[in-house]
Subunit: 168 residues, 2 copies
């Protein structure tokens, strides 16, 4: 039987669309509080940092060495069974992500792709399947907040059919 | 007796200079690990996230509403007795910070000022005295990683003498 090919077009990332997979980290919610004599407004509780089973919270930076171009063929996803994982861009740039809901396997019909706006970050909840990080410019940097600890915390699944992530 | 005036000139932020106060969050250390089939390099364990006494880890964004200009007179510092507090810029910009070592009071001779490079963030260790956040452009955003929880976690000290934070 010939391989099926699934085309996946990125939609703009919003907290409503992303709710089944995680949190959108952005300063656009309505509940800003004044801080420092109102020189700043502060948007609190933007993501659920989950370091299950006694893990610590780790802060890292991922720097792009090889830029990715779209369209891109995706052949596997990964998930972190012991914790959440957040990515926040450290310069103004777009990101494209692919997710599927937590579960033992991935149904290709449940894949979703999203494109971020500059200054939007996101947090994958524990167990959310996702494409490994890609970036569109060498040298771009992303803050990573995830679970530290020696336990194995990354699982991969190979997709049954070819998935083509389309250009934005 | 006339008030003394202390002038404070910012020095470039480096992890060596900042070690008594906290961590510099930047992708410049020598221990990068390859990730995602070497499309990225990952700089791990960039700061010590401290949410003492059962606190949660909170992720927020602070957005500047009123830009600050230097020179600036500083009349108070604050500290967080229950946790660390990290600030990471979400656009390429400089920041200026003022710190003093943990302790019950602040000796003006121990004040230090630092200026960051673009893409440098920093993490105040628990108890480090610091000037409340300032920024130089309205609309600039900073990711904040600190301790969540209902307990009081901010103390202020009023400085004995006028401190003038000088321009960079």
């Amino acid at each position: 039987m010939a391989e099926r090919q699934v085309a996946l077009a990125p939609l703009p990332l919003t907290s409503e669309r992303f709710a089944p997979y995680g949190d959108v980290i952005e300063a656009s919610r309505g509940d800003a509080a004044a801080m420092n004599e109102a020189r700043f407004e502060r948007f609190d509780n933007l993501c659920d940092v989950d370091a299950a089973e006694g893990g610590s919270v780790s802060v890292s930076i991922a720097r792009c060495r090889t830029a990715t171009e779209l369209p891109l063929r995706i052949d596997k996803l990964e998930r972190h069974p012991l914790g959440s994982q957040a990515f926040i861009p450290l310069q103004l740039c777009e990101m494209v992500i692919v997710v599927a809901p937590p579960g033992e396997s991935v149904d290709l019909s449940e894949l979703r792709a999203f494109v971020t706006k500059p200054r939007q970050g996101f947090n994958y909840h524990r167990g959310t399947w996702h494409m490994p990080l890609i970036a569109f410019s060498t040298g771009h940097e992303f803050l990573v907040i995830d679970r530290g600890g020696a336990e194995t915390n990354c699982e991969e699944v190979v997709l049954d059919d070819a998935v083509m992530l389309e250009a934005v």
